[in-house]
Subunit: 635 residues, 2 copies
C-alpha cells in the first residue's frame, strides 16, 4: 500500500518564497501522516501566469534556489513538484537562456529521473498556445528538444524509475497539457506507456477554472487511463493568477483515477488541501471505492468561481473596501451582492447617482437593495456637475489662433449621455473610492462589452469587471441563484429582476414607460456568443447562411421562433446583424483595449484569452454576394 | 537580365479585399514595365496582426478566394506573395483547421513549388513567439510538419524550380523570421542552399519598425548572403498594424543584396512603392552599383515612425479631429506639434485647463505654443468642478444601513490631485472631443507609464498614447528635433524645454519655485529602461549588484558620477530603488492594463510587446541578503 499525499496548494504567482514555504509545510504534514510521496502542481514554485517575468535571470536563479530547498526536504519522502528547469548553457527560440516547464522528482535529497533523460528533471511535451496560454513564448518543449538531440519525441517519453522501500515504481510523469493530447500528433501517455509500461501516471497541472472543464477532463483522462490500463493521479493548484487583462481562478479538483478510469478520490474545488490516499499499486488503486464528482457546468459553479476569484483578487491587490455604483438595475445589484459576500457590508459603499433621467422607481430600488444588504449607502446627484460640464463646453469660445476667429461647440443628446456616464465613474465613484480607501467596481456584463454598449471612463471603468464574462441571461440566472441559495431571501428585489434593462441616460430610456436598452438580450446574447465564444468564430457570412437555411436559432442556441418574431424580413435582419457586427469589430474593440481586468469563467473571456486588433469591420465577399442576392430577390 | 518588381505595398490588416485590389494594380503596373517577376510581402492578402480573426473560417475562405484572383493574374509574370495556406483536412495544435503562414509562387495562372513539397505553397519554418509576435498561436510551422511526415526539417527546405523564358531559376523562398535564424537550431538559408544550391533568395516579410532594426537586418542578412554566396531580395510591407494594446508601424525598406552581401537597391521607408530592378542572375546582381542605406537609430527615425504611425492610425479609425490638453509642459507640447503635422491646425483643438495650482508661467506657455502652431485653442478652468466634487464627497452623509449610523468622508491632498487629473481628461477633454467630433490624446511618456506616475481616467486616458514609447529624455530630444528640423523655428518655446517637469497638482509642484516631479529623469529614465527594455530584464538584485561593483552607471547608460551625486549613501539608494520597483511591479501594472494603445518605436513597448501580470512586487532572496549585509555594514 502506497500512502500518497496530493498537495493541492494555493500557488501565488511570482512569489517563489511564499510557495516554497507552503510546500515545506505540506511536506512536513505529509511526513507526519506517514505519506511516502507528495505531489505538488505544475510550476508550484514560480507560478504559471507571470508575463515576461521569465526574462529576469534573477527570478530564475531565485526559483532554482527554492527548488534546492525542496529537494533537501525530500528525506524519507518522495516529493514531486513543478518548477522552471533552466539550461544556462543553451538558449530558447527567443535567444534568451533556455527555460523548461519541468517536473522534478526528489527523493532522499537527490533528484531522480535523469538516468534515461538529458536533464535531472522531465519536461513538458505539449506547450499550449491558445486561449490565455503563452507556453511557447516562455518554455522550450520536448517536441523541440528531441530533434535537436537527433531523437524522436517518443524516444524521450520514458517512465521515471523510483525506488520506494526497495520496490521499483515506474512513474509516468506528465505536465498538464500532456494529458490533453487529442489535438496533437504526439500522445505522451501512450508513448510513455509503450516505453514502460508505467505503474502510475502523475499529471501535475496549473489549470484554470472554465465552466464545464472538469466534466471534460474526467472524460478525457478516464479514456486514456482505460486505454493504457494505468492509474493516474492529477494534481492541480488553487488560487488566482492573471495575465493583466484577464483574471483566472484555479479550481484544484485534484483527482485520483484507478486503472479502470474511475475517480476514486478528489480534493475539494477552490480549497487548499493536503489529501492522503492509500493507493494499492498492485491493484491499480481499485482498492479504493469509486466516488462521484460534482458536475461543474451550472450557475452554482459560476458563483463559486466568482466568489473565490473576487475574494482572492481583493486580497492580492491589498484592497479591503469597495465602492459600487448602484443604479437600481440588475448588473449593479448582482455585483453588490457578490461583493457583500466577500467583504463585510461595512466595507461596501453603495452609491446611487441620479440625474434628471433616473426614475423614482430605480432610485427606490437601489435603496431597497442596499438596505437588504445592510451596507453603507449614499446618494450623490450628478445633475449639477453634468450641467456645468455641458455649459463649459457650449459656452467656452474656441479661438482659431491662425485667423483670430472664434466659434462655439454644441452638446448633442448623445454627447450628454456619455458625459453622465463619465461623471458617475471618473468624477464621483473614483473620488469617493479614493476617499473611502478602496477601489470602485465595473459592473459591465459580457453582452455590453461585446458591442461596446458602455462608456469608456464611464460605466466601463473600475478596478475589476467581475461580471464581464457573463452574458446578460447569466446575470439574471445568477441573481436568482443569489436570492434563492446564497442569501435565502429576495435580497435583490423582484422588481429589479422584472424591470426592463435600461441605462436611463435619456428620455428614450425611461423605464416607467417600458423603454430601455437597444439590445434584445434573448436574441442578441446568443448572436454575440456566436461571434465571440463559438469554436469557429461566427461571422455575418455564417449567420446569414444559417438564417437562409432556417437553422439560425438552433445554431446559436436561442429560443425557436424568436428571429421571425423580432424581424419582419431579411432587410431588418441584415440591418441588425451589420449594426452589431460593426460595433463588435469597431468601437467595442477600442473600448475593450482600455477595459478593466475581466474575471474569467467561460471558455472564452475578453482580454488575453481573446486577442484582437483594432482593425475595423470586414465583410467577406461571399457574405456581400449572399446579401445582395437576398435583398434583390425582393423578400 | 531579369526585371524584378519589388511590391512594397501598404497592407491593411484584416482587409483581403483592399489588399488584393492593391496587388492587382501593382501587378498591372509591373507588367506594363515589363517585369518578369513581382514580389509581395508576407501575408500580403490577410495582413499579419489580426488577433484571433484567424479562427473565423469565413475569413480563411475569403483569403483563399483572393489568393485565387492573384494566381489568375499571373499570366506572363511570376507573382510571389504571402497568404494564409489552409489545410482543411488537418488541424493545428489548437484543434482548429490548420493554417500555415505561406509563400505562394504563381506563374501563368498556376502555382509552382509543389513538386518537391507536400503543398502547392511553401511554409514558414521559424515562427517567432516573442515580443509582439504570436505566430505559434496561429500557424503550424515547418518544424512541426516535418516530424509529422517522418522527415527532417532540412529535407523539406528545398528551392523552388521556376521556369522563366525557358531558363530554370532556383528560388530560395523564405518568410521573415526564416532569415533571422541566429537563435534557432534550424538555419533555413543554409539548408535551402545545401539542397540547391539556390540562384536567388527571396525573403518576404511583415516586419514592424523598431529603432535600429534595419541596421541589424543589413548585418544579419549580408552575412548569410556572404556565407552562401547567393543574392537575396527582401520585401517588407508598409502601413500600420496593431495588437490592440500596441500599434506598430511597418517601414518597408525592402532591399536587394547582391551575392557579395552588398545592398544594391532599396525602397523608401514608410512609402508604398513599386521598385523595378534589372537583376543579372549570372552576375549575382553585381551588375548593380552598391548603395548606402540610411542609418535608422536616431531621433529622425523616431520622428518619421511616429508621424507615419499617427497619420495612418487616425485614418484607420476614421478620426480627423483631435483635442489635446496642453499644460505648458514638454509632453503635451511635443504631442501638439506631432498632431499638427498630420492634421490641419483647424482640426487640432488645444485646451488649457488651469486649476489654482497652475502657474501663470505655464498658462502663458500653453497659449504661446498654440499660437505658434496656429491651431484652435480654448481655456476651460477646472477649479469650480473640482471644488464641487470635493464638496460632494465630503458633505454627503454615508449611511450605515445596518445600524442607521452615518459618517462623512474626507478629501486628502493626494485624493484631490487625482480628482483634478480625472476632471481634466474624463470630464473636460472627453466631453469637448465628443462635441468637436474627434478624440482626445494621451500625452504620457514611457517614464511615467513605467511607474504609473499618471492618473487612471486622468492624464493616462486618451484614444492613443503616441509618446508612450519614449523615455523623457527622448521627448526632449524630439522637441529639439521638431523645432530645428521639422518646423525650422522655436514652435515649442525654449521656456517649455527649460522648465522643471511638473504635474502642477499641488503646492509641492510649483514650477515657479523650481518644484516638480519626483522622478529624477537623468537617472530614473535609465533605471526604468534597465527594468523594462534590457535584454535580460534587470531587477533590484542586478541593480544592487552593479551598485556594489561600481558599474551601475555604465550598465544602465546614465551619466557617470550621477549616482553618488543623487544619493548620499546606500540607504537612500535602496529606498529609491525599492520605491520605484514597487511602483513598476505594483500600481503601474494596474494602470497599464487600462492604458490606451501605445505607438511602438523601441525594441520593447508597453502593451502586447511586454506581457505582464498584476502579481505585485517580489524581491529575490539574494537581493534581500545583499541589502541586509550592505545596511548592516553601517555604510
Amino acid at each position: 500500500m502506497l500512502k500518497i499525499a496530493l498537495g493541492q496548494m494555493e500557488v501565488v504567482p511570482g512569489r517563489p518564497d511564499i510557495n516554497t514555504s507552503t510546500m515545506l509545510d505540506m511536506i512536513a504534514e505529509a511526513r507526519r501522516k506517514k505519506a511516502k510521496m507528495i505531489i505538488f502542481p505544475e510550476l508550484a514554485i514560480p507560478g504559471y501566469l507571470l508575463g515576461d517575468t521569465w526574462e529576469q535571470q534573477a527570478f530564475l536563479r531565485d526559483c532554482e534556489e527554492c527548488g534546492r530547498r525542496i529537494i533537501e526536504a525530500s528525506e524519507d519522502i518522495c516529493v514531486l513538484f513543478g518548477n522552471v528547469g533552466v539550461d544556462w548553457g543553451k538558449t530558447g527560440d527567443d535567444g534568451r537562456v533556455r527555460r523548461y516547464n519541468a517536473f522534478f522528482i526528489a527523493h532522499n535529497g537527490r533528484l531522480c529521473g535523469g538516468e534515461n533523460f538529458p536533464y535531472p528533471f522531465r519536461i513538458k511535451t505539449l506547450n499550449p498556445n491558445y486561449r490565455e496560454f503563452d507556453d511557447t513564448r516562455y518554455f522550450y518543449s520536448l517536441r523541440k528538444l528531441a530533434p535537436e538531440l537527433g531523437k524522436s519525441v517518443e524516444d524521450l517519453l520514458r517512465p521515471v524509475f523510483l525506488n520506494l522501500d526497495g520496490e521499483t515504481v515506474k512513474l509516468g510523469c506528465m505536465l498538464c497539457e500532456d494529458g490533453w493530447s487529442d489535438d496533437y500528433s504526439v500522445k505522451p501517455m501512450a508513448a510513455i506507456n509503450r516505453n514502460g509500461p508505467a505503474d502510475l501516471f502523475i499529471n501535475i497541472s496549473s489549470s484554470p477554472f472554465t465552466l464545464g472543464k472538469n466534466n471534460k477532463r474526467n472524460r478525457v483522462f478516464s479514456r486514456q487511463v482505460r486505454e493504457t490500463g494505468v492509474p493516474l493521479i492529477y494534481v492541480n493548484n488553487v488560487g488566482i493568477q492573471n495575465n493583466g487583462k484577464t483574471v483566472y481562478t484555479f479550481d484544484g479538483y485534484s483527482t485520483v483515477y484507478n486503472g479502470r478510469g474511475e475517480a476514486v478520490g478528489y480534493c475539494h474545488p477552490f480549497t487548499a488541501e493536503l489529501k492522503i490516499v492509500d493507493f494499492d499499486l498492485a491493484q491499480k488503486g481499485e482498492n479504493l471505492p469509486p466516488v462521484s464528482i460534482p458536475d461543474d457546468r451550472g450557475i452554482d459553479s459560476i458563483y463559486q468561481a466568482l466568489r473565490y476569484g473576487l475574494s482572492k483578487f481583493l486580497r492580492s491587490i491589498g484592497m479591503d473596501r469597495v465602492v459600487i455604483g448602484v443604479s437600481g438595475g440588475i448588473d449593479s445589484a448582482v455585483s453588490a451582492c457578490l461583493y457583500t459576500q466577500v467583504l463585510d457590508p461595512e466595507n461596501v459603499l453603495l452609491v446611487n447617482m441620479p440625474s434628471i433621467f433616473n426614475s423614482q422607481t430605480t432610485r427606490d430600488l437601489a435603496y431597497k437593495l442596499s438596505s437588504n444588504l445592510g451596507s453603507l449607502y449614499c446618494v450623490v446627484p450628478i445633475q449639477s456637475a453634468v450641467d456645468l460640464t455641458a455649459r463649459q463646453i457650449s459656452e467656452t469660445p474656441v479661438l482659431n489662433l491662425k485667423d483670430g476667429s472664434k466659434f462655439y461647440l454644441s452638446v448633442s443628446s448623445f454627447v450628454l449621455e456619455n458625459i453622465q456616464a463619465r461623471d458617475r465613474s471618473s468624477r464621483v465613484l473614483a473620488g469617493l473610492a479614493a476617499a473611502f480607501g478602496g477601489g470602485f467596481t465595473c459592473n459591465a456584463n459580457k453582452s455590453e462589452l461585446t458591442v461596446g454598449y458602455c462608456t469608456l471612463y464611464g460605466d466601463e471603468a473600475g478596478f475589476l469587471a467581475a461580471l464581464a464574462d457573463l452574458w446578460k441571461h447569466q446575470v439574471y440566472e445568477l441573481a436568482e441563484y443569489l436570492n434563492k441559495y446564497v442569501y435565502g431571501t429576495d435580497v435583490i428585489p423582484q422588481e429589479i429582476i422584472d424591470l426592463v434593462p435600461s441605462a436611463e441616460l435619456s428620455p428614450d430610456q425611461a423605464v416607467d414607460e417600458g423603454k430601455g436598452d437597444p439590445i434584445i438580450y434573448p436574441y442578441h446574447d446568443y448572436l454575440f456568443r456566436a461571434f465571440m465564444e463559438r469554436w469557429n468564430r461566427a461571422t455575418p457570412e455564417d449567420i446569414l447562411d444559417w438564417y437562409l437555411k432556417g437553422t439560425l436559432e438552433e445554431e446559436i442556441g436561442c429560443r425557436p421562433g424568436l428571429v421571425k418574431q423580432i424581424f419582419p424580413g431579411p432587410r431588418q435582419f441584415i440591418e441588425d446583424l451589420e449594426r452589431w457586427w460593426r460595433q463588435y469589430t469597431g468601437m467595442a474593440v477600442a473600448k475593450r483595449i482600455q477595459a478593466p481586468p475581466v474575471l474569467a469563467v467561460s471558455r472564452r473571456a475578453y482580454g488575453f484569452d481573446h486577442r484582437e486588433a483594432q482593425n475595423g469591420t470586414h465583410y467577406t465577399a461571399r457574405y456581400l454576394k449572399m446579401k445582395k442576392e437576398l435583398l434583390e430577390s425582393g423578400s
